[in-house]
């Protein structure tokens, strides 16, 4: 099945960051080093395309830390498929997230 979105470098970076365990918006910004205004539109687009799934974190945890609930993102099965292509097309980027070195 054809991909509906362009697999650009920033998109690939966001997908790899989420796979590496950075699931919240600001965490993804920090992990990717992308300009702040870039990350959220990518997240929205990927979520609408079914590549990512957004959900609100557990209320008890947020309450215990006296803060509002954050929204986190995780890969769907479509996202896992897209990730295979990311690894194939951006091997150096994948190595950075795997080992911390290019």
């Amino acid at each position: 099945m054809g991909r509906w979105f362009n697999l650009t470098y920033p998109t690939a970076t966001v997908l790899l960051a989420i796979r590496a365990g950075h699931r919240y918006g600001f965490d993804i910004m920090d992990a990717t080093g992308l300009p702040d205004g870039t990350v959220y539109p990518i997240l929205r687009r990927l979520e609408r395309g079914g590549v990512l799934e957004g959900a609100w974190e557990d209320e008890a945890r947020a309450r215990s830390e006296q803060r509002p609930r954050r929204r986190y993102y995780r890969l769907t099965s479509v996202g896992d498929e897209a990730l295979g292509e990311v690894i194939e097309r951006f091997p150096a980027l994948h190595r950075i997230f795997e080992t911390g070195t290019a």
Partner: protein, 138 residues
């Protein structure tokens, strides 16, 4: 008050109403978490400024949401597609415009619609009444 919350509230006005509440909650939660990480005692003015700068990116996100909603609207999408197609195929554009443009005839009542019969794919085309009579008489 968490730095940047006012920016989020202002930017939320740009977000389409059906998405606004959730969008605002997400950004406020991120800002609150980031502010909490700084620790109560060690927060400086510079930290507050940094957080505000980061939160400013929510304006781009809000504009993106707005644009996306407009794009999803069928009419806007159709118009955009039509313009793109016409620009991509100029020959087709010329043919379409000359075919569909209003008839320059001074007596539009001279024109009548004609159709082909018998064939599998019946077609309809405009024809001058005089030409039709001439063709029919053959």
């Amino acid at each position: 008050m968490v730095p940047g919350s006012r920016i989020v509230r202002c930017a939320a006005r740009l977000v389409p109403a059906r998405r606004r509440e959730e969008w605002r909650r997400e950004w406020e939660a991120e800002a609150a978490y980031a502010w909490r990480l700084r620790g109560d005692g060690s927060r400086s003015r510079l930290d507050a400024l940094r957080l505000r700068v980061r939160v400013l990116s929510c304006v781009i996100d809000a504009l993106w949401e707005r644009k996306e909603t407009m794009t999803m609207t069928g009419l806007f999408n159709d118009a955009r597609f039509a313009v793109r197609s016409l620009l991509r195929y100029p020959t087709f554009t010329v043919i379409a415009v000359t075919t569909l443009a209003p008839c320059p005839s001074r007596t539009p009542t001279d024109w009548c619609p004609c159709s082909t019969w018998g064939a599998k794919d019946a077609t309809s085309f405009p024809c001058r009444t005089a030409s039709f009579s001439c063709t029919r008489s053959r």
